[in-house]
């Protein structure tokens, strides 16, 4: 029961915020990592956010990894990667003073990440702005910094996805939740098929255009043909020397080596 003539209860003051000891600021609970560069390869593509984008790899500039030498020099290591068909995406690809990297302070030092990754203080979770990243990757292709995917790569991706869909379809009656996965893969498949169609459209001659005739070989000039064959290896050797490649082996081997250097082809010479 309330008493009369009692003084009003104290309103109370807002307490001062608790003081946090210096150096006790939370940091992402993640391990350190080295600076890296993003590299693209003609064989690596994926569908993200409804777009076919290059599946970039992180080339870590870490001492002792893939040829980064004792003083941290990575140029030789990068040249080696390029000779295997990788294309460097420069850190300032979006203009001078920009970078696709971000660095965070973590308990054991520094951690490098791409600017589309999200880290959280006090957490080990890594989030992603994958739609923005996909748009950026697609832009790399539009800007010509990464070549469009080869047709055979997309065909291979389609084959694998079709096999996966067939496999999932067999199981969806027993596991209905697979329907979500099937829908996602069907959407990816549609993206790949559209891209394949577009590429075929680029490759095929316009309707009504006469196919380009193959150059005719002059059967009379046999000597010239023989000379061409003899000189072929010499020309290849010269080209290999210019590119700083080994000149050992047969003409075919040297040609393959040059192709690998120039186009990043496989060892068996297939693109």
């Amino acid at each position: 029961m309330a008493r009369l003539n009692q003084p009003a209860p104290p309103a109370g003051d807002v307490p001062a915020p608790l003081e946090r000891p210096a150096g006790d600021q939370p940091m992402p609970r993640l391990g350190p990592s080295s600076r890296f560069l993003l590299l693209a390869h003609p064989n690596r593509w994926c569908v993200t956010g409804g777009k076919l984008i290059p599946l970039l790899k992180r080339f870590s500039l870490e001492l002792g990894l893939c040829g980064v030498d004792k003083s941290g020099n990575h140029y030789g290591a990068l040249a080696q990667q390029k000779s295997r068909g990788w294309t460097e995406i420069p850190e300032d690809v979006d203009g001078p003073g920009t970078s696709y990297l971000r660095v965070d302070r973590v308990a054991q030092g520094q951690r490098f990440r791409t600017r589309w990754e999200i880290v959280y203080n006090g957490s080990s979770r890594i989030g992603s702005r994958s739609d923005e990243y996909a748009a950026w990757c697609a832009e790399l292709v539009e800007r010509g910094l990464v070549m469009a995917p080869p047709v055979h790569v997309i065909e291979g991706m389609i084959e694998r996805l079709e096999a996966s869909l067939a496999n999932l379809s067999n199981k969806v009656h027993a596991v209905p939740s697979l329907k979500i996965k099937i829908d996602a893969q069907e959407a990816d498949l549609a993206v790949l098929r559209a891209e394949l169609e577009r590429l075929h459209g680029d490759l095929e001659p316009a309707e009504g255009a006469a196919p380009e005739a193959l150059p005719e070989v002059d059967p009379v000039d046999e000597r010239a043909a023989q000379l061409h064959s003899d000189n072929k290896k010499a020309a290849l050797v010269e080209m290999a020397e210019d590119l700083g490649l080994s000149t050992k082996g047969t003409a075919k081997t040297i040609a393959q080596r040059i192709a690998e250097h120039e186009f990043g082809g496989d060892d068996d010479g297939q693109e």
Binding site: C46, L65, G67, S128, S130, R160, L161, N167
Partner: protein, 303 residues
């Protein structure tokens, strides 16, 4: 009768006592022990270079015998070689506890023997971390970005290696997220899966990261496996011998060295009497590189 409270005994009670056992922090300590799929290119000590060039030759049944007519001369076969390089660089760590920190240590953690154990384990983890970072870098890629790793993805990656004549045994290194998806796929699989889970004996031999063998591939888990696609995916991989090369060196041991030579890792004690502290410095020289790219396949799946 007055009650004696705990707070009344402030001079005869401690604010806290230490637990009987030291608990280690939550870190990935799954060292990948030497597996036949990892190609050890050698020790550069006394070799004249910090770079090892690993040659590869198309020899030993790489070329079949040609059909040659009786009396005809056989065309000589040219041997073709290629090479991969591994660059060895220094890795080091130093702990510098003061005498006061050490003399009050009731666990024996700041003991030279423990520092030596830490040095060897850390060297193993460094090697593991460098190897794991290579997994996402093969030009052959399997899996679907944003989708969980499936048995089919794994099988396709293994099959691609078999088609490419990659010599076994194969080794897979996956992130724990990917392994979780794989385990789920094994559990819900409607067919027979040739999965041989790791026995305690095998874990003792191969380390805590070893999870078992599937389709004949030894499967290891390491959370050092990097992310891909701006953190949306993890980039594990499967590979055969020759895809990953590593090399190391031995630290010269002089009579002046005060410390422990723990194999290739050197732990030295650097006493600073003026500051009453001792630095426990470990040095290790190693290098890891991708060898033949076609001998490995990346598995890039949802994070």
């Amino acid at each position: 009768m007055a009650t004696t409270l705990y707070a009344d005994l402030a001079d005869s009670r401690l604010p806290a006592i230490l637990g009987q056992e030291l608990m280690l922090s939550r870190e990935d300590r799954s060292v990948i022990l030497n597996h036949p799929a990892l190609f050890y290119a050698g020790d550069v000590t006394g070799s004249g270079s910090s770079v090892i060039k690993q040659s590869e030759l198309d020899f030993m049944a790489a070329h079949e015998l040609a059909a040659v007519a009786d009396g005809a001369a056989v065309t000589p076969t040219t041997l073709t070689d290629t090479s991969y390089t591994v660059t060895v660089a220094r890795r080091a760590k130093s702990y510098e506890p003061t005498d006061l920190a050490r003399l009050t240590d009731s666990f024996g953690a700041l003991d030279p023997v423990k520092f030596a154990e830490d040095a060897t384990l850390s060297a193993g983890m460094t090697l593991t971390s460098l190897i794991a970072q290579l997994m996402g870098g093969f030009s052959n890629v399997f899996g679907t970005s944003g989708s969980n790793l499936t048995l089919q993805d794994f099988e396709e990656a293994v099959t691609s290696l078999e088609i490419a004549n990659v010599a076994g045994p194969y080794m897979a290194i996956l992130h724990a997220r990917q392994w979780g998806d794989m385990r789920d796929a094994i559990r819900t699989s409607t067919g027979t899966v040739a999965f041989d889970p790791a026995s305690p004996d095998m874990i003792r031999m191969r380390g805590t990261g070893y999870k078992g063998s599937i389709y004949g591939v030894d499967l290891f888990v390491s959370n050092k496996v990097p992310t891909a696609n701006a953190g949306a995916d993890y980039a594990g991989g499967v590979f055969g011998r020759g895809a990953v090369l590593w090399a190391d060196a031995s630290v010269p041991v002089d009579p002046s060295v005060v410390g422990v030579n723990a194999g290739k890792v050197m732990l030295e004690f650097d006493r600073d009497a003026a500051s009453a502290k001792t630095a426990f410095v470990s040095n290790y020289y190693l290098g890891v590189a991708e060898g033949d790219d076609a001998r490995g396949a990346s598995l890039i799946t949802d994070a």
